[in-house]
Amino acid sequence: MSIHSRHIVIGGAAGQGLVTVGQLLCKSMIRAGYEVLVTQDYMSRVRGGHNTYNIRVGVEPLTGPTDACDILVALNQETVELHRNSLSSKGLLVLDEELDALGLPALKVPFATLAPKAIFQNVAALGVLCSALGIAKEIPSKLVHDSFGKKGDAVVQQNMQVLDDAYAWGLANGLECEKLPQPKNLTPRMFLNGNEAIALGALAAGVKFCSFYPMTPATSVAQNLITHGRKMGVIVEQVEDEIAALNMGLGASYAGAPTLVPTSGGGFALMTEAVSLAGVMEQPVVIVLAQRPGPATGLPTRTEQADLNLVLYAGHGEFPRAIFAPGTIEECFLLTHKAFDITEKYQTPAFVLTDQELADRHMGVVPFDLSRLPAVAQPDLGDGAAEQYRRYALTRDGLSPRRIPGYGSSIVLADCHEHTEDGHITEDMGMRVAMNDKRFIKAEGMVDEVVPPKRFGAAHPKRLLVCWGSTEGAAREAADMLNAKGESVGVLSFSQVWPLNPGQFMADLEAAEEVICVEGNKTAQFARLLRQETGFAMHGTVLRYDGRPFTPDYILGKLAG
């Protein structure tokens, strides 16, 4: 079944406030009861260029972006020119009366009259769009109150006046625009993106320290922790470089703070020596890697899934790790929370691997139920037999109680060399082997805790689409569209890509007639990983590496041709 939804594309130059308009509109639609999904497409510049804010709105749950455009809100002429051909047949162009509609059916808005000053244009656009879409005026009115309340009564009053006028103008100028169907979802929802969900997941898990060096599209993870850090007692430090970021993070972890280090591929490349340090030191840390296309600086503000191999193999030597790849905003929250548990329990680095599309994807999300979250593993807070305490004591399950320096009289020596049980340098062959084995005994436990892949679409599919991370939404919708046409298509979506637990999915792969890997890179990294680990060779791939997110149409096009 294809999801009925409408698509609003707001286009303009950076600095024109398109994100503000988009956010106000989305929050209004969510409060009105609609499902909303936003993807952002922006250039690597602060002013000018051409950016779009793509809103998908419907009454059924939405999973991912599309290429469609039913309402094009053009904040500048370039938007009209670039998107004139993508506007659907019943589509409508909304633009300032000064701009040229190039013969398209258009609603020409007298923004200069509706907004007495340029700063009110956002609210004017909100008023016009809400009336055009049939959203009751009380909803944007309340939102304006909530959003501008802190700035004082005068500001609220001025904005309310602009909103009233714009809404009235919209009604009076009778729009030839298909109204949205009646909304259904009246549960209060947050308007949240992937990075915000990661920050909330970290806070729920008890994050206390975050060190970072800014890099798109990861920066806003730290930014969100800065925003909430004071209230939640989290130190967020912008440091001199990514090498410092992870080494500092490991120091914080040693001293007892659950720690998060966010970055993108280039920054992570600088961290790799410290990833190895975390492995041998058995120091918990959660690293968030929001991917963007490489190599090197690549396409800084676009999306890709080409750093899987980097994260899998980063760091010299051998040590276990866990890699989560959330497929939804909710999973950004839940799997970040879980990463904190796994990294503390197994004392080895855990990764949350996302990408620009998911980092910036906004949706309406029900506030997370904190009371239902599982407990997060804690270090050993005891101080018994302090004289005998050995940080790397050899145990049956490979896990050595991790005490925190200064909490008691136990002496905690963490070391980067191969070491003895008490953390001292050793070159003894037997001890080396015992310690290396110990670190990998932990890995066995990690396999038992792997998040199983999710199944969508047909129950016993002939054709199986395998995907990981953010690609899930588009793959699900593509499968739904094919199934609606009578095909038998399923989706197997991995939200943990390391370690793999073949018992969880081999039967699915073997039962399908055709298995196709859908992933956002050129070399089918996950398909290769799966083959390496299981011997199973998928029958085909749908790959994307033009910097743009997967959409159902893109997948269908590749499958067809």
Binding site: A204, K231, V234, I235, G251, A252, Y407, V412, G423
Partner: protein
């Protein structure tokens, strides 16, 4: 005062006669006299001969990567301000591989002490030039003599107005003890650049070479006079001053951050009610 035996006695892998032995002795004495028990101190290092120190003394220890001692050291103090934090490693570690962290640590000004063993050579990797090796110094890797101008850590630290900058020499343990204690007691980032001769790989800057040149600054020297400090920082020839070259009292980062005021961060519970409120604000 703590019994010096509390810090243990370990077999080291240092060459007999290496300056590091005396630095270790001075550190133990300094801590004992300051009444700092092993569990109250976090001793952070990088990699190099000097950086092996955490293995030769009983203290909480974090032996990290080459060049990367300072970032974890600062984090330890921020996360648990009750700990006394000491970073210890060589000239290559601090001023070469970790040079950016050295500059950043001065600016960040976390309350901690850096003991930089300065033997003007890479000891562990067997005698290549370090950032502080003199121009013209011939090594196996620089057979025609070093062509880079030497790095002057004291001058850089004074120029950046680090909170506390001192120099000492392993050949004068009583003075070194005093410098370590003054550095620990001084709030903010405090460094002691310690001449600790490498008897195996530096045949230029030997024990005798330092002994001949090093002199103690007298009571008439004012370490709060920046111009005088800059001048002393460049006195590096026939005479080299030992002592507190410069000090100031910019407020340490850990005293500025409200999160540090409640003690160890890891002991603070997650305030679920506050988090619920944060989520509501996204609606």
């Amino acid at each position: 005062m703590i019994d010096i035996n509390a810090y243990g006695e370990y077999k080291t892998s240092w060459c007999p006669g290496c300056g590091n032995h005396d630095v270790l002795k001075a550190l133990k004495q300094a801590l004992a006299e300051l009444d700092l028990a092993p569990h109250q101190v976090a001793h952070v290092s990088g990699i190099g001969q000097a950086a092996k120190a955490p293995h030769y003394i009983t203290l909480n220890g974090f032996n990290g990567l080459h060049g990367r001692g300072l970032p974890p050291a600062q984090a330890v103090k921020l996360v648990n301000p009750a700990l006394t934090v000491i970073a210890e490693s060589g000239d290559g570690c601090n001023y070469g591989e970790g040079g950016n962290h050295f500059l950043a640590a001065i600016r960040r000004n976390v309350d901690m002490t850096l003991l930089a063993h300065d033997n003007q050579i890479y000891g562990l990797t067997k005698g290549q030039a370090s950032p502080t090796t003199f121009e013209g110094h011939v090594t196996k890797s620089q057979p025609d003599g070093v062509t880079n101008a030497p790095f002057n850590p004291i001058a850089v630290a004074v120029a950046m107005r680090a909170n506390f900058v001192a120099r000492a020499f392993s050949g004068n343990v009583p003075h070194l003890v005093k410098m370590i204690q003054a550095a620990i007691n001084h709030p903010g980032f405090a460094m002691v650049d310690i001449f600790s001769p490498c008897i195996s790989f530096n045949k230029v800057n030997t024990f005798g070479w330092y002994k001949q040149r090093c002199y103690e600054l007298g009571d008439d020297y004012d370490p709060t006079n920046w111009d005088a400090a800059m001048e002393k920082a460049y006195e590096f020839g026939d005479r080299i001053p030992m002592g507190v070259i410069w000090k100031t009292d910019r407020k340490p980062l850990n005293e500025r951050l409200p999160m540090c005021a409640k003690g160890a961060l890891g002991k603070q519970p997650v305030d679920k009610a506050v988090l619920e409120g944060i989520m509501q604000a996204y609606i």
